[in-house]
Symmetry: C2
Subunit: 158 residues, 2 copies
Amino acid sequence: MPKTLEPVESRQDFISIGEAAERAGITQRTLRYWEDLGLLKPPARVSGGQRLYSRDDLARIDQILRMKKLLGFSLSEIKLAVESEEAKQVICKDLKHERSRARRLKQLEESAGITERQLRMVEEKIKQMQVMKKELTCDLSSLNERIAELREGVQGTV
Amino acid sequence: MPKTLEPVESRQDFISIGEAAERAGITQRTLRYWEDLGLLKPPARVSGGQRLYSRDDLARIDQILRMKKLLGFSLSEIKLAVESEEAKQVICKDLKHERSRARRLKQLEESAGITERQLRMVEEKIKQMQVMKKELTCDLSSLNERIAELREGVQGTV
DNA sequence: TGTAACCTTGACGTAAACGTTAAGTCGCGG
DNA sequence: CCGCGACTTAACGTTTACGTCAAGGTTACA
């Protein structure tokens, strides 16, 4: 159900697709595409049909971008992650409504599993990138050494 | 010039494309494709025309894989990085041949510049990934807290 | 010496992630 | 109330990074 504006929220709190795209540094097409794939939940619309993005929507967009650029996830992988995020929020709301505990527990655990896998992956990546960093640092300092040697005309010292 | 076997090197030191691909966890097609794009320098060949990959080649392949998977680089970006790596090695060899000092100095500096840019990028990524790690850790512990609550039947404590 | 397993190039196919264009609708300042 | 820019959906095009044959050459081994 693509919701319309809720009474308490002002039109000021929302921005058009053009502005949202510009702020995120992507195209309108990309936003619509992500929506089609289910990465973004259908945003609010004005009566005429134009999309209105909320602060939450923008945060989600940023999150997706980070997963793409930092972790190199495909959109389908991101969808999984986003769905678990979704589940988390639904669960938090549902906690009020006091329903089937076993079911909620299962969802919570599933969500935690996904989050944990992501965490492990991030940790692994950080480790490997620190190795790369060390290598690059090494390379760089040996290059700088050579440069210094050359500058001082001490070319023969290999 | 796709070189042939050099006298000092034994055939044992080289492996076929099939084995190289298997070791790297990629396909033969991918190796040939990378070679076409100029990511890999043309490897040695046996007289019959079949490729022979050296230890250096394998190292290069690993390097490319890390750039792809860790940094999320496109192949064209990787090509740039690899070319600068190439340049570095050429320069190191040339250092013996004692040629125009000014020119070598310039190349060394260019090489250092590229390496430094790469280093900065890696550092930036590490930073951002540490932020993600923190967020995920936070998420996870709050999830686990809720799970514990539910398990002990203390559902009301929001 | 044959033959099965491996390799070669070349060409065409494909999935993902959008780009681009078309044809029409909406919203708002003058 | 009109015109212009921003928006809508739909459809087709494009790029990247390979996958997948096809048709033949090479190598190793019984």
